[in-house]
Amino acid sequence: MSEERVGVYVCHCGSNIAGTVAVEEVSQWAAGLPNVVVSRDYKFMCSSLGQELVEKDIKELGLTRVVVAACSPHMHERTFRATCERAGLNPFLFEMANIRELDSWATDDRVAATQKAKAMVSAAVRRVIHHQPLQLLPVTINPNTLIVGGGVAGITAALEIANAGYHVYLVEREPSIGGHMAQLDKTFPTLDCSACILTPKMVDVAQNKNITLLSWSEVEVVEGYIGNFTVTVRKRARYVNEEKCTGCGICIDKCPKKVVDEVFEAGLGYRKAIYRPFPQAVPKYPVIDTASCIFFQRGKCKACQMFCPTEAIDFEQQDQILKLEVGNIVLATGYDTFDPRRIPQYGYGRLANVFTSLEFERMVNAAGPTGGRIVLRDGVTTPKSVAIIHCVGSRDKNYNEHCSRVCCMYSLKFSHLLHERVPDAQVYEFYIDIRATAKRYEEFYHRVLEEGTRFIRGRVAEVTDAARLPGEEGKLIVQYEDTLVGKQRRLPVDMVILSVGMEARRDSREVAQIFGLGCEYNGFFIERHPKLDPVNTMTEGIQIAGACQGPMAIPEAVAQGAAAAARVLSLITQGTVMMEPVRAHIDAEKCSGCRICNNLCPYNAIVFHEDRKVSEVITALCQGCGACVAACPSAAIMGAHFTDEQVMAQIEGMLWDVQPQIAMTATGAE
């Protein structure tokens, strides 16, 4: 029998645990387990009084191991490790039994919950006896930071970090930074001009010496770990020499090829084959879209090259592969808008005068395709009646179950702009619920009500051009139930705007895989904790900011960008971080040199020494998954804090009440 002296502490967590688990019974029962010298239950173990209880026992009763049965280790493992450390006990000689999330909250069967709690406590006691004292591993933090995505969240994070004096690589997929915010006309509820408030920040990025801006570029590979990432970036060929280009734009004027701009103009306007998405683009250098360029497609033209005053056009340019060394990464990759072609009954794509909200943003923008004129698809007719349909692709289990949070407010903004630009137009908002929940939002709703917008409570069923009654001919007919009246109705209008929701980027899962993150069911990146750690991720050293985490408006995206920057700066200024010592180690004596483990390691952390015919784990590279430990046929690899003995003992403890007699005697003797 082991000499270890174990203390067991069972937490009530108010009634969170004690409401379902008979905690006193568990505690009294645990007192009788081998090696347990003290067992107590307490109202809140995480309180300072609860922790002092443990500290006192360690000192006075000479505890060598501690078990706390409370909540998830993801909540309070750190708390109790620190408690042990304060009392002079190595923090890894502690084990937590999660009898709250995994037990009391998951059932209302008191008997079964108590039995399960006993099993988990028994398992923890048996396991902790085999624990080894371990030391956290210090890791130095490279002070350079990678920020992926140059929308308002990424720009904010980049400027915060750069202004603090550290270097930032800002990678943007499009030719210019600015993101969705650069496409918008006014921002709700203040009606600031979106571009007017964003472009100064974009210029700051361009001029900041601490920021290396890599636009028209994408991250391909991420290797390493917190403090020491190596990132491979593909800087796509622009076919414009950035050293020579002055950004004069003559090439764009002279380019004979015009195509629909599906990205910046949301399909509502055109651009050239050599283009810059918008006049204030940062960087100012254009790119050639080879898929539409006449020279790249047919081998002749070169108009841009002929007219370029500085010989900056370079058709021979190649993609560049850059390797960046960074200590931290911020992902601010943004969102996509819902494609309403997926809801055929709203007619988008078939009915000319059905527009998306993004198209409408471009339309009302003075710099947009119509110069700010609100017109039908024919480009000339001013609509006399406009229906704005909320929740398109949102709050709908057939598409996205989530509420996109911004659509109510931007729809209200559209109403306001319509009243302003087309004073005699009748505007209708079709809504399920108006969600105006942030500062000055409700007031804005009231203002739009007073401006004369007609609000109709009912989710639109369909938009059609099939006239049924006189007065409907040549119009778009919106069919809906006015739920406050309880009647089905039809409303003929000239224009329909679909307030499309926000979705995760179409490639968010691939991006998550590159960076080793998790995605929600709907593709948004998962934060470390939805309330207390919203910009951190499960992967150390990688933060997320903005709408890649979930639908949000500009102020929240900015706040998240700044929060992520604060996280990064905190790590940079610390210089080193302490890492969990959960790492694999190969016992050279036992290693047979079979090399099975070599190829299993996803981090290439295992090297083989030809001379000695043994494998060795490079601790700095190992991430502690344990794949090699499980596969070693000679049991030569030890996974610290998850050793075979620890897990085996835990299994035995878990099954204390069902073990067959033989096994009982075999292990009970230890």
């Binding site: 057939n398 989710r459 069923a461 069919q479 139930e481 739920t483 309880g486 009647k487 089905q488």
Partner: protein, 193 residues
């Protein structure tokens, strides 16, 4: 069929409707958006839109809900079902409400009181022949319940006969006894559920 049976209290009307609908109709999810009411091809003529009817059910207004002509005006086109953002099996719920209205005698108070009679007449022919019988259905139903209409419909029936689109006598399947045994067993098992 959600688990109201596990609670000690008596089921609410909403829970009853759910329990009598096959599968998981998810009526409890309704957010009152009105997509169903806007989509329904006969919605303009209903006393309550489906959404309105669900509000009555949720409020426990049994008599009002079961007297409504709404379920009887349902044409089973499934627009509401495929468009419902909460994926409620609305068409199935309509069938349930029809059965409940018949069971509890409310349908006679509905403005659509002929509809169940049509269904019953139809079924009578199927149960006795194994096949439906249009002429018999038309004459039996119209003579029994809509004598005035029967006159108006006569030219059409004649047209059907002249074009060889209607039989004068019903077709009977060979296994009619077997079918009746099956249906009787089903009635016995399911009561009038």
């Amino acid at each position: 069929m959600t688990a109201y049976a596990t609670t000690a209290r008596a089921p609410t009307f909403l829970e009853e409707v759910i329990a009598r609908t096959p599968g998981e109709p998810h009526l409890e999810r309704c957010i009152q958006c009105g997509t169903c009411g806007g989509s329904c091809p006969s919605g303009a003529d209903m006393e309550h839109t489906p959404r309105g009817l669900f509000a009555l059910i949720n409020a426990g207004l049994r008599e009002q809900a079961l007297c409504s002509n709404t379920p009887w005006y349902c044409v089973s086109c499934y627009y509401c079902t495929v468009r419902c953002p909460q994926q409620i099996h609305i068409t199935d719920v309509m069938y349930t409400l029809k059965r409940m209205a018949i069971d509890e005698g409310y349908y006679t108070e509905s403005t659509a009181r002929d509809a169940p009679e049509f269904s019953k007449t139809f079924i009578d022919f199927v149960e006795s022949n194994g096949r439906s019988f249009e002429l018999g259905l038309a004459t039996a139903y119209h003579l029994r319940y809509r004598p005035l209409n029967a006159v108006g419909m006569a030219p059409m029936a004649l047209g059907m006969l002249r074009r060889g689109r209607m039989d004068l006598t019903p077709t009977k399947i060979k296994g009619i006894k077997q079918l009746q045994a099956i249906l009787n067993k089903a009635k016995e098992l399911g009561g009038v559920k």
